[in-house]
């Protein structure tokens, strides 16, 4: 079980959180023309790197804030966590 540092609450065990996928994904702006490829990339395609991955986590059993985590997918090492508004 990972130990994740919520930027609001501090270090907590993984079972308080839920995983929210790739943090680098940007939703195309509402109301803006979007090509099929752009939209497909957004909805379906994700990188699956071995190594560093910036991702979203949600502190569901805590402060209910979404935040960013930089994690090594192979070793689970967590390098940094940050608020959504901050650079990771």
């Amino acid at each position: 079980m990972l130990e994740i540092k919520c930027p609001y609450c501090g270090k907590r065990s993984q079972n308080e959180f839920s995983y929210g996928g790739d943090a680098s994904v940007k939703r195309p702006q509402l109301g803006k023309e979007t090509s099929d490829k752009e939209w497909n990339d957004f909805v379906y395609f994700r990188n699956n790197p071995r190594g560093k991955h910036s991702e979203l986590w949600h502190h569901v059993a805590g402060c209910r804030q979404w935040f960013k985590v930089l994690r090594n997918t192979a070793t689970h090492e967590i390098f940094k966590t940050s608020k959504i508004s901050e650079e990771l």
Partner: protein
Amino acid sequence: MPQNLRLDKVGYINRDKKISFKFNGKKYFGYEGDTLASALLANGIHLIGRSFKYHRPRGFTGAGVDEPNAHVQLYSGAKTEPNVIATTVELVEGLVATSQNCWPSVSFDFGAINNLLNKFFPAGFYYKTFMWPKNFWYKIYEPIIRKAAGLGVAPLKPDPDRYEHKFEYCDVLIVGSGPSGLAGALAAAKNGARVILAEDKPRFGGSLLTDEVTIGNKKGKDWVDETISQLKSMPNVIVKNRSQVFGYYDHNMMVMSERTKDHVENSTEFTPRQKLWYIRAKEVIVSTGSIERPLVFGNNDRPGIMLASAAKEYMKVYGVLVGKKPIIFTNNDSAYDTAIEFKKNGIDPLVVDIRTNSESSVVQEAKNLNINIKFSHGIVNSKGYLRVNSATVGKLNDDRSGYESLENISCDCICVSGNWTPTVHLSSQSGNKLKFDEKINAFIPSKSRQNESTIGSANGSFTLKKSLEDGFSKGYELSNKITAKNIKGTTPTSNERNYAQHDKFWCMPLPKNKYYKRCVDFQNDVYVSDIELAVREGFRSIEHVKRYTTLGMATDQGKTSNLNGLQLVSNIENKIVPEVGHTTFRPPYTPVTIGAIVGREVGKHYRPTRKSPMHEWHEQNNAVFVDAGLWVRPRYYKQENETLLEAAKREATNVRKNVGVCDVTSLGKIDIKGPDCAEFLNRIYTNAWMKLPVGKARYGVMLREDGIVFDDGTTTRISENHFHMTTTTAQAVNVLAHLEYYLQVVWPELSVNVLSTTEQWAGAALAGPNSRNLLNKLFPEIDVSNEAIPFMGYKEANLFGVPARIFRISFSGELAYEINVESGYGIFMWEKIIELGKEMNIEPYGTEALSTLRIEMGHVAGSEIDGRVISSDLSLEGMLSKKKDFIGKRSLNREAFINPNREKIVGVVPLDKKSMIPEGSHLVSDNKASLPNPKLGHISASCWSVEYNNPFSLAILKDGKNKIGEKLYAVSPLKNKSIEVEIVSSHYVDPKGERVRS
């Protein structure tokens, strides 16, 4: 019966307290402080079970968790526990143990015929033989194999014991209380760190319990006792015995099981049997010691043949002689400790040593004691059926390929030592890549991936001096990273025997024309010949050899066999061991009782139960409940001998005719506040929200980004910047997370707050033609007319002093209202409704009637919104705004979603107007077509329409709207039903929706 194998003064058992127990139906006794194994050995019993595959007689091999053979079944009935390692069971009064895997008895075992047929059971035998014919596997082969090759018998009744979970945090966790662990704990504790010291055995000290050493001029055991009491007196230290750290998980999460009950004589039923500790440690010191390896020779698995260190432990800890005519067979010096111990207790051992000589002090000590040593010799084979009675000892020729001479020597036990394997399981689990140490011929940890440090003999340091030094320095170094107190003690002086280099030779060759079975993995019955066969058949990767032969795959995880297996493969392939590599170590290190993993999360504690504030009323009024996620909801209110269907019909009919009340507290409710609420809803829902007036509700559908319908519900504008959203019971949690995601991650610029208020409001739905009259009685002070509270209207009012919210919304399709009050007033509201509704023939209705009402109205719910449908499939395309963008909209022009032949929602009526169509039935055009019969759609929900008094179902049907009027078949192979049906509109009752607006 006198125990003439029990020594008078040696050991740490309490000779003042006799303990009686039963083994295989016979009564024996031992002493307080014994294990089941030591007590049986004191009674001269070596034969304890039968081997897994060939049912060969087996005895004790070890004295701790490494034991591969001595598995027993404890007690009987609900309390019974299979596959317990006898060497780890503490003796308590009344203990009952039986042998496993033998019938009718351990000394006469019918299954031993497998041993005579063993030519037919080589490695991979099951894979090769039982594959064909295919369907024989489940019916014939598997049950027979299971019966023949089993371990113990699992209990059939629920476990009567309690198990607890505990969470703990510490700076330094030390696993193992041998010399290095104790030193590490002491150093870290003195330097101010929060320390947990865990020892798997009842007694602390590890090798110090049995080794002839001194530390700081004290006997090893005395130093242990003093150190433990010192640690126990420190407030920053937790000291735990009977506690096995069995798993090393991510981010230094360690899991430990503590045995808290079985050894206690007068425990209560509330004493937990075991505690599972989840320990988050900043630093972990693995000081788990090492396990002696067996030497491999002909019939080396006979009862009476055990590890030399185990024989020593039985003598020194339990005062038990494992035999009176021992042969010590070794390739190293450590076994001489055992020989000397026998000699000191008046027994003459014979040492058979593979090496040509050894010059160490311990060998010199043995020589001085006139112990008979045969250098350059090895044991070739053992004899005796249920217990070893002699050994064939051979003088090895110069290249050790065979023997110069053979002789038969009688004995009653053989104590073997093939040198020591560091216990690296936890280190490896932590992600530490192991490296091969040529000097000790075994793997040791190298670089840690986590905050893990392995020291002592687990790290391949077999001298006391080095273990103590490493312990004190690591304990200081790691604790100082955390406490920075710089309190550094000094390592005490120590004194120990000195040991020479071992000989790598470990597997005795077969004499000419002899084909003795030489066992490598005792628990899984894997022999030298099996591994040779696997390599001959082309299995190269050690992981494949492992799976093909099952080497190391038993519950002991190959603690005594893995390395010998690796050495054998590397010998055959002419490689060195590190080239062959090792298999993966996985938790748990030792078997863990399922009950301990589950803890208190059993029965009702398995998950939370959510009840509405009106729950007790429902109970008192004969509600039959149904689980809806975590919620428990009334399914129907049973009257006399009603069936579910009869009750649902009665309740639904009363709604259509009079008025009914339904507890809708479980619906998800989300409070939404802020100046950008309307804009936010406009983006989340598919329809328009900007112009919803205050005091009005609107039905909304939300999609996922991929265009699939996510959830639906009504949302009401309470005031300009305040909305009240409802969700389905099932999706309430997910919808909240969805809203939070968009607000926090995607549109942080929107000024909106969301908060779950599901449990803050109690909800009651009034439905039926009399509901307005009832509302009038409940709220006499306000105007309840159609004009004052129109369909989708909202009003706040006063329910006899209690603030209430009135929503005119309808799930049943009838004239209906939903009343919400603060949860604490829920029962007050409910009882008022029942009381005042009496004259209008009010009846409560449950989820079954609720389903009936919504199905015949064609309202969709979770069974239609199943994660596979888009709005138009549910005839909700009218809800898709063309004027604005919303979540998921861009996906809707995907090719598959604009296909006109997509499945659509329809109604289905059986032609006979009698047969209920099972939910999940498939719709096909020909019910007799050969399989696979093309599926046109499926039945999502079924009810008995109270409006038309015949069954009615909703279905999702390919090109459904164009099939209305057609006849199809609804087939359910599961229920063995095939029903001819007609496709009709999904809006079976009141298709124009006049009633809700009346």
